[in-house]
Structure formats: C-alpha cells, structure tokens
C-alpha cells in the first residue's frame, strides 16, 4: 500500500497532467475545427482526459479530506469555503486579465476563450468535488449498514455515468432518463441525512449558514461564468468540451446543490430549537457531575452544592434552597438567591397551612403550590417545586425550587430534577458506604496493633526455681481480649506470680493490660502482703481505668523457704489446686472483689490474703474465663468440672504436659480450632 501522502501527491500530479492534456487537446480540436482541418489528436481525448482529471481529483480529495480524522463539521464547511474561494479568486483573476486586455485580437480569439473556459471548468469541477467529498463526510457521520450500502450504490452509479460519458456508449433515451431519475432519487434520500446539524451549537449553526450561503454564491458564479463562456464559444463552434456534455458534471452539480439547500434549510429551521438541545446536553453533564462528585470530592457538602446548581440551571429557577436534616450535625440549609429567613417563612407558611404531599416521592409535582404561595404576603414567588432527597429509604432532606412566575414548572422540569435528586441520594449513600468501609479498615488496623502490643506484654521467659516448675500457655482470639500473666523474683526465696484478665476488648483492653503490667512490676518488688498489693493496685488503677472497666487478678507470693503460697484473689477465676498428699483436686474458695470496681478507700475491706502450705507434687493451675466459658457446638460450656478432670488425668506429669492435656481436652470439647476468647493458663508444679 502506498502511503497516504504519496497517494495524495500522485493524485494531485495526475490531475494536473490530465488537465494540461485536456486543455491542449481541446484547444487543438477546436482549432482544427475552426480551420476545417482534420483533428491532430483523437476526438475522444478531451473528454477522456476530463474524466481522468475528475478521477484523479476525486482520489486527491478522498485522501485529503475524507480520511482526515481530525476535521469536525465546521472545519469541513470551511474547507469547502476555502476551495470555493480559491477557485473563484483564480477565476476572477483571469477575468480581470481578460478585461484588462480589452478587446484585442487575443481576447476575441476563440481559442483563448476556450482556454479561459477550460480553466474555469477545471476550477468549477474541483470545487464541486471538494464539496462532494465534504458532503459525503457529513452524510456518513452516523453510519448504518443501510446508509453505507446506499452510498456505495450511488457512487457506483456515478462512476457508471462517468464511464458512459467517456466512451459515449449509445443507450436509448428512456433508459438514460430512468437512470437519471434513479440517481436523483438516491441523491435526495442520501441528502436526508442531516444528523450532524443537531450537534452544532448556536454559534456554529450561524457559521455554517454563512458558509453555505457563500457556497451558493460560488456555485452561482461558476454556473454563470461557465454558461456565458460556453455560449460565446458555441456561437462559433460546437466541437469543444462543454460542461453540459458530461452527464456526470450535471449529476454532481445537482447533488451538491440539493444537499447544500437541504442543509441550509435544516440549519435555519433548527436555530430556535438549538437552545433546547444544548440544555439537554448540559443536563447530562450535570447528572454526570453529581454521580461522579463522590470520587473527586471529599464530603457531602459538595454533592449538595452541585445538586443545587444543576437543578437551578435545569429549570431556570429564580431561587432555591436545599435543607438537609442530620442527627449528628444538625440541620443544614443551602440557599441560592434567597435569604434563610425568607425560606424559613415559606416553610413555616406551608406547614401552618398543612400542605401535605409536596415532599413525597410519588406525588404529582406539577401541582405547583402557587395558590398557597400567593396567600403568603410579601413573598415574590408564585411557583414552588419540592423534592425529597432519599438515602437508604429515608428522607434526609428537601430540595425546593422557586419561580416568580405562577405555574412556572412543567413536567419535563419535574422529571429532570427528580432524576438529579435521585442521583444525589445515591451518591450520598455511596459516600456514606465508603466512609463506613474506611472506618472498618481503620478498626481492623487498630486490632492488629492491639494484638501486637498484647503479645509483647506477655513475658518471654518465666522465673525458674529449684522448688517448682512452671509453664504457661496463651492463645488469643481475633478480637483482642486482655489476658495477662507474669512472674517476678522478689529475692532468693520469694517469687511473685500474677494472672489477670482485663474487661473489654480491643485496643482499650491492651492499654489497660500494659498498665497492669507496670503496676505488677513496680509493686511486686516491694514484697507486699498480697492484700496490700491489691489495695495499692486498685488505687493506682482507679486513676487510669475507664468508666465501666475493671480488671480481675490473682496475685501470689511463693516462699520457697517456708514452703508457703500467700495469695489474694481479686474477682478472678478460683485457683485450681491439686494436693498430692490427699490426691484431691479442687477449686480454692476465697473472697475478693475485682480491681476497679470500688474506686475509693473501701476496697481493702473487699480483698483478703490467703495462705496455703505446699508440698512436693502439688499442682496449681491458674487460668482465665476463656477456658471455662469455651462453648461446644451445642452451646454447653467447658466449665470448671471438665477443667478439673483434665488436671486429674495428668497429676503425675510435668507442667508442660499437664498444659498440653488441658488444651487437648479443651479443643476436643469445643470441636474446632476457632476461638472467640483468649485461652490463657499458667501451671505450677512443686517439686
């Protein structure tokens, strides 16, 4: 395939050559005719050359204009205008030259006239072809199969006519007339394709009208010039190439003329309606703005403003307001060309007169409430249109449009504003959903952090002692709870232990847990009596715990010289103790209120210190309620009995194995590895 540019150049060159040969041959023929000599060149050469000229120019324009993607409608008309202008100017130049030369032998020479004639003919035909190509672009703007096929038929017919012209095939008159009528009908049908007119705005329509008028002018000028010149040559000889001799030229002229006329009339009669079309286009753009505003804007207010603007411009309202009810931010009022006070007056007025139905979605809005407005003194508005803004089935606000004209709103306006307010409702709903999703994401992030904090608070290693073995186990759920355990060596024979459970979940629980850790580590060093520890811990926590939060804990001090365990239980699960000497495994009974419940000085009355004497083989299991409250499929709880059984099975084993058994029994009971609370336990076996 030759490149487009090459084709264009080739076509142009071809047309110039064809035209030159045409001129030369036509002049020769005429000359010989005048002199009565036999023609030096074949008689058919001129018209074949003309046809060649036409074909080359046709392709030239085809590739210059038709294939150029960037031209819009007005540009196409400008091209036609430009071509016409150049053609006319050139023609006028020659005319001027002709006039300047006055009446000399040269000018009255028929050959010179023929030369001028051929120049004008060439210019005229190139103008017609330029117009033809542009019209083709316009007609085929909105393609359909049918349209393209019709056009193909049309072009084929024209080409056939051209061939006929070249070879002067003899065809009976009736058939030629029929063919001409057929072509004429095709031309008219094709000319009905005026869709491109609708896309012009007002200014463009006026420009096109002007360009078309000028086109008429050029056509008229050329027809006149060509006819005059051919008449003057005709007086002396008929054997020159006449414009009228080619049916093709006539068809082309007819087509260009018909389409220009149709376009002109259609544009002219569409001028009044062009504003409606532009209005519709603007409505669509506004609609898109409303629905897109959530992506680009960051808050609901901008949606409200866009809604107000769009609605006002869509119905040419004189004033408007948008009232949004919100539980959190109070009522907001957005107004346009009306004061808040005035809008309040109107609203109160309507409420006082018990005007129902203005705000329901289904009510007939064209019942413009004019008569009610008329009764309100001092108000200059006579028409009111109101729409509810609905989000998730709930009315969150009202849009009201006002006009000074009575009955100023029609059904079309109602429809478009209804569409706007629906879309605004949807956009706001989307916005709120996005906010929610964002919040959920933030919450998930928070939980992740809390979990990391919680893990870091648990001890990496537990205190060791020749007198006992200790093992701990902690498994946390997704929703972070606040289980805590820790050990601390007070001195060479005293070790402090603690297990605690913070109420609540999430980041707050994690924070309280870290506070508990701090309190444990600072108070335990002071070798306090457990009851005193709890009392002081309670006082410290009273300052940092939130309303409704508490911490349950049990604090132990193991004395390896005296072989005693002194402990205080503050609201925590009872300690599970296995006494090796009796073989009994049971829960210790004692009293104690959780930390944070009583935030004054009365707390010390509510906790006590208990003392146990331990012996070799004794086992103590500390745990949190996650274990005892673990549910199985049926909804039963693991409960204290099963936990005690789990210990009884393995009283001779090491703490780590005891723990393994407890967790084994626990998971076996619950039936799944999914847990919804934290499982924490600390097992101490005395050697």
């Amino acid at each position: 395939m030759l490149k487009t540019k090459a084709i264009i150049r080739l076509a142009f060159l071809g047309s110039i050559i064809a035209w030159l040969v045409l001129v030369f041959s036509d002049v020769t023929v005429l000359f010989s005719d005048m002199k009565g000599l036999p023609p030096g060149v074949p008689v058919w050469l001129p018209r074949v050359m003309l046809d060649l000229f036409i074909v080359c120019l046709f392709y030239y324009y085809k590739f210059r204009v038709e294939r150029d993607e960037s031209l819009n409608f007005t540009d196409l008309l400008w091209k036609v205008f430009a071509t016409g202008l150049i053609a006319t100017v050139v023609s006028l130049v020659f005319r001027l030259v002709h006039n300047l030369l006055g009446t000399t032998t040269l000018t009255s020479n028929i050959l010179f006239t023929d030369f001028i004639y051929q120049i004008n003919l060439g210019l005229f035909i190139s103008f017609l072809l330029a117009a033809y190509t542009s019209w083709k672009r316009l007609i085929l703007y909105q393609k359909s199969k049918w349209l393209i096929r019709t056009w193909m038929v049309f072009e084929v017919c024209l080409f056939a006519v051209l061939v006929y012209d070249s070879f002067r095939i003899i065809i009976p008159e009736t058939i030629t007339t029929l063919i001409l009528i057929f072509i004429g009908l095709l031309a008219i049908i094709l000319s009905a394709n005026m869709r491109w007119v609708a896309y012009l705005n007002f200014k463009q329509k006026w420009t096109c009208l002007l360009l078309l008028l000028l086109t008429f002018f050029y056509l008229g000028y050329f027809i006149y010039t060509v006819t005059r010149l051919s008449e003057s040559i005709n007086t002396q000889s008929t054997s020159f190439l006449d414009f009228n001799s080619h049916v093709f030229n006539l068809c082309l002229l007819a087509f260009v003329l018909v389409y220009s006329t149709f376009s002109f009339l259609v544009i002219l009669f569409n001028l009044p309606t062009s504003s409606v079309f532009e209005q519709k286009l603007e409505e669509v753009v506004n609609f898109q703005r409303i629905s897109q505003s959530i992506q680009t804007e960051q808050n609901e207010e901008s949606v409200y403003n866009i809604l107000l603007e769009s609605s006002v411009s869509a119905v040419f309202a004189d004033a408007a307001w948008l009232e949004i009810q919100s539980a959190s931010d109070g009522n907001k009022l957005f107004t346009y060309k009306i004061s808040e006070r005035e809008s309040q007056e109107i609203r109160d007025h309507l409420k006082n007169h018990n005007i129902k139905g203005a705000l329901e979605q289904s009510s007939d809005k064209t019942k413009n409430l004019s008569k009610h407005l008329a009764s309100l003194k001092g108000s200059r508005y006579r028409s009111l249109l109101a729409f509810p803004i609905i989000v998730k089935g709930e009315t969150i606000g009202t849009l009201a449009l006002l006009k000074e004209l009575p009955e100023g709103f029609n059904k079309e306006m109602t429809r478009i504003v209804s569409a706007f307010s629906n879309q605004a409702g949807i956009s706001i709903e989307n916005f709120r959903l996005m906010e929610q999703a964002f919040q959920t994401e933030r919450y998930k992030e928070e939980l992740k952090i809390a979990k990391t904090v919680q893990k870091s608070l648990l001890p990496n290693s537990l205190e060791t002692d020749p007198d006992f073995e200790i093992s701990a186990f902690a498994e946390s759920a997704d929703e972070v709870g606040g289980d805590y355990y820790d050990t601390l060596r007070i001195n060479d024979h005293l070790v402090a232990l603690i297990i605690a459970d913070v109420s609540g979940k999430g980041t707050t629980a994690a924070f309280h847990m870290s506070q508990m850790k701090g309190i444990f580590h600072s108070l335990a060093q002071q070798d306090l009596d457990p009851k005193e520890f709890m009392d002081r811990a309670n006082r410290a926590l009273a300052y940092c715990l939130e309303r409704g939060s508490f911490i349950s804990a049990t604090y132990f001090v193991v004395d390896t010289t005296a072989k005693t365990i002194r402990y205080s239980r503050a609201g925590h699960c009872p300690v599970l103790y296995h006494k090796a000497s009796t073989g009994i495994t049971e829960y210790l009974k004692d009293k104690g209120t959780a930390l944070g419940m009583v935030r004054g000085n009365d707390y010390c009355r509510l906790v006590e210190t208990n003392v146990i004497q331990y012996a070799s083989g004794d086992i103590m299991v500390l745990y949190t309620d996650g274990i005892t409250e673990a549910k199985n499929q049926r909804g039963d709880e693991f409960d204290y009995d099963r936990l005690a059984d789990a210990l009884r099975e393995v009283t001779d084993k090491k703490p780590s194995e005891i723990e393994k058994n407890i967790t084994h029994r626990l998971y076996e009971f619950s039936g799944s590895k999914d847990i919804n609370d934290d499982y924490t336990s600390m097992t101490i076996k005395f050697k």
């Binding site: 109420s503 609540g504 979940k505 309303r547 409704g548 939060s549 508490f550 349950s552 503050a570 609201g571 925590h572 699960c573 009872p574 009293k591 104690g592 209120t593 959780a594 944070g596 419940m597 009583v598 935030r599 509510l606």
Partner: protein
C-alpha cells in the same frame, strides 16, 4: 441481643432484661438505667430472670452506677438471677457491692427498707 422492658410498680421502676448482654447491647442497658435515674425514680429494680448471659461490658454497666446510686441514695437491686449469672457476679465480687436478691418480693422488701 437484648430486649429491655420497663414497668412501674408501687413507685419503683422495674427494668426487665431479656436475652444476652454483650458489648453492643450493654449500651441499651446503660441507657435504660440512665433514663430511669433521669426520670427521678427512687427505687430501681432489675429483673434478671430472663437474662441468659452477661459479658464484662454488661457487668461494667452495673458497676459504673454503684457510686452514683450511693450518692443519690437510690437502691439498685437485682433479682431472679440464673445460677450461672449469679456465679459470675459471685466470682467477681460484685455480689458484695450490689444488692442481689432471689425474687421480686424480697427485692421490693429490700428497696423499701433502704429507701427510708
């Protein structure tokens, strides 16, 4: 989920708690008690006979009113608890801080005694 009903008998506000109290529904319980206090009742009883389960959040709600009730001298009495729920209160030591009775009559009797 929880359902909270309020009825008034002999000058006392009886708040019936039906179902489970977890973190989200504890807010409703909080609101009910706050409303009761706000409306000026001098005796507030809580009927726990239909209470299946109470989480730490729910316990926190009761706990948070201990001080306020004491200051305003309004007896807050819980009655009719199921064994499991009563056990939870017992372990935490809340039983010593709140007034808990077996049934409505005893609760009313206590309320009358305390409001003099």
């Amino acid at each position: 989920m929880v359902q909270i009903k309020r009825i008034q008998e002999e000058g006392a506000d009886i708040i019936s708690v039906i179902g489970e109290i977890d973190a989200s529904s504890s807010i409703e319980l909080d609101l009910a008690i706050a409303k009761s206090v706000g409306e000026g009742f001098k005796k507030i009883l809580v009927d726990c006979s239909a209470l299946e389960y109470i989480s730490s959040a729910g316990l926190g709600v009761f706990m948070s009113y201990i001080e306020e009730m004491k200051d305003k001298n309004i007896p807050l009495i819980l009655f009719g608890m199921k064994e499991k729920v009563a056990n939870t209160f017992q372990i935490l030591g809340l039983a010593d801080l709140l007034n808990i009775r077996e049934n409505k009559q005893e609760a009313k009797k206590l309320a009358d005694e305390l409001s003099v």
